[in-house]
Amino acid sequence: MSVDKSTVLRIAQLARIEVPEGDLDNLDGELNNILGWVEQLNEVDTDGIEPMSSGVPGMKLRRREDAVTAENRQEDVLANAPEPRDGFFVVPKVIE
């Protein structure tokens, strides 16, 4: 499988990263280089193999009671905001 420029644009759109037209040729080549290289995994027979998603085999994610454990830290949470106002994050208009 290889990606063309329109696919690169579609992925960039999904990833919410603007890609300048001038970068497309390079990126297309780089991504195909990497994707071509990882395709060697197709040589490995993985029929009936359980995918491993944990950091060490057999690790179970611990669960906790669904209870509030953090105190109110509104000021801390907003301290790094690019545009805080009246205890809120200000964001561009979403609804027309």
């Binding site: 490995v44 359980e50 060490v56």
Partner: protein, 494 residues
């Protein structure tokens, strides 16, 4: 008072003993290191210096000691990789997108080290979001390796991603530094800079408060000048944390106590498949030497096969970018960090992320997004997770036969800045020996074991079973002792 330069040459163990015996104070130790950090700014190892904080920490440590309190890590000056959130101290993961971010909280690992009395000297440089093997992708510029090739003045890379930490430890700008390792980011720079770098079992050190790269692989660990120091420092970093659902509640052994057990009777596996194309011949020769050293100390050498090794890197370069693309979705310019305004919300997102992420991070997010996208998930991501299982199973089978595995840490010594930037796959191959243990979650350590023909440090790697750091440190100590490693970089101290 001891000479300042002597204080920066101590090991953590020596500093602990000297502090305990009252030969010098934590304040003197901190002052010596602050001076060294300032004198060696040309290495670009630190991106934030916190001298006032270090002096405050040291004064508090001296006060505790005067009252007869304070444990074995009290007063030890350390550097913190700028991937750990530190309360009130700028933390950016060396990315433009986290411009000016000052965490209102402290990572679990650094909080635990503070509790143990560590003195923080500052935050160290790294590849942006820990994505890189040469520390050249940092928004704050590359780090210089304090080592140079004999007769060659070119700047060398310190390895990556924990390049600032490795350079700082090697140059005597701290007694130990935290690193994080996702596919080799502690071990490879340790090998390049002639220091010890240790990645614990996945789950030993909490990931809470560490800027996430690939969550099923990320693991914090110590970078030090000796194996003993790594054991002491891991004791100050490891522990159960209810805030990380993958944090292990297994008991933490006394790592230092395990050191001197020796390798007599220990079975050491040598995997034939780690003899890869493109590996320097002198690294192969050093590996052979390592085998002889351990054998001479009574270890039994066993030939083993890890045939899936060749698939570890491509597996990693699907799984790690996939997890990264998901983790880095949080950088949207709304709640913290950089915001670049666009005509609407979607454009603000895409402009912010275009300007905020560097080329390597952008590439990995795009790869990750692609392999997780509809129609490709099974062919790439699920396939990689299945191969990951096979790699992990293969290690498990090997550990039915042996107690530890010995390999080189990296296929080459440190290279010059810019030397590998044009060839992505060549850069990725740096991690060919370190990635397999990362995929299986196993503890592994790089020990400096010799010098290349042109005078650069080379490391050997040991890997053990999950949660068997004791055998890992024991074998590493034996290797270190046999190697008789003492060389120091020429540019140490600036």
């Amino acid at each position: 008072m001891a000479e300042l330069t002597q204080l920066t040459q101590l090991t953590i163990a020596e500093a602990r003993d000297g502090l305990g015996a009252g030969e010098f104070s934590a304040k003197e130790l901190a002052e010596a290191h602050i001076a060294a950090v300032q004198a060696a700014r040309d290495l670009n190892a630190y991106v934030v210096e916190t001298p006032e904080r270090a002096l405050d920490d040291a004064a508090a440590s001296d006060a505790r000691r005067a009252k007869g309190e304070g444990g074995s890590f009290d007063g030890i000056p350390v550097a913190i990789k700028d991937l750990f959130c530190t309360e009130g101290v700028r933390t950016t993961a060396c990315s433009h997108i986290l411009d000016g971010f000052v965490p209102p909280y402290e990572s679990f690992v650094t909080a635990k080290m503070r509790q143990a009395g560590a003195v923080m000297l500052g935050k160290t440089n790294l590849d942006e979001f820990a994505m890189g093997s040469s520390n050249e992708t940092s928004y704050y510029g590359p780090v210089r390796n304090p080592w140079r090739r004999a007769g060659d003045n070119r700047d060398l890379v310190p390895g990556g991603s924990s390049g600032g930490s490795a350079s700082a430890v090697a140059a005597g700008l701290c007694l130990g530094a935290t690193g994080t390792d996702t596919g080799g980011s502690i071990r490879q720079p340790a090998s390049f800079c002639g220091i010890v770098g240790m990645k614990p079992t996945y789950g030993r050190c909490s990931r809470w408060g560490i800027v996430a790269f690939a969550s099923s692989l990320d693991q914090a660990g110590p970078m030090t000048r000796t194996v003993r120091d790594a054991a002491i420092m891991l004791g100050a970093m490891a522990g159960f944390d209810p805030n990380d659902s993958t944090s292990s509640d297994a008991p933490i052994p006394d790592f230092e106590a395990a050191l001197e057990g020796g390798v007599k009777g220990m079975k050491i596996g040598i995997p034939a498949e780690y003899l890869v194309d493109g590996m320097d011949a002198e690294i192969g020769a050093l590996w052979d030497k390592g085998v002889e050293w351990l054998k001479a100390q009574g270890a039994e050498i066993v030939d083993i096969s890890l045939a899936r090794t060749q698939y570890a890197l491509p597996t990693y370069y699907i799984i790690a970018p996939a997890e990264a693309s998901s983790n880095l979705a949080r950088y949207d310019g709304m709640r913290y960090g950089l915001r670049v305004d666009g005509a609407d919300l979607a454009e603000t997102y895409s402009k912010t992320r275009a300007e905020g992420f560097g080329a390597e991070v952008r590439r990995r997010i795009l790869i990750g997004t692609y392999v997780l996208s509809a129609g490709y998930y099974d062919a790439y991501y699920l396939k990689a997770q299945k191969v990951r299982r096979l790699i992990s199973d293969e290690f498990a089978a090997a550990f039915d036969q042996v107690d530890a595995i010995l390999t080189p840490t990296a296929p080459t010594a440190a290279f010059a800045q810019g030397e590998k930037s044009d060839d992505l796959i060549a850069m990725y191959l740096n991690d060919v020996f370190t990635v397999p243990a990362s995929l299986a979650g196993l503890p592994a350590i790089s020990v400096p074991a010799g010098l290349s023909g042109d005078g650069l440090p080379l490391g050997l790697q040991l890997i053990t079973r999950a949660f068997d750091e004791e055998n890992l440190f024991r074998a590493a100590r034996a290797l270190e002792e046999a190697a008789g490693w003492t060389p120091r970089p020429v540019a140490a101290g600036g």
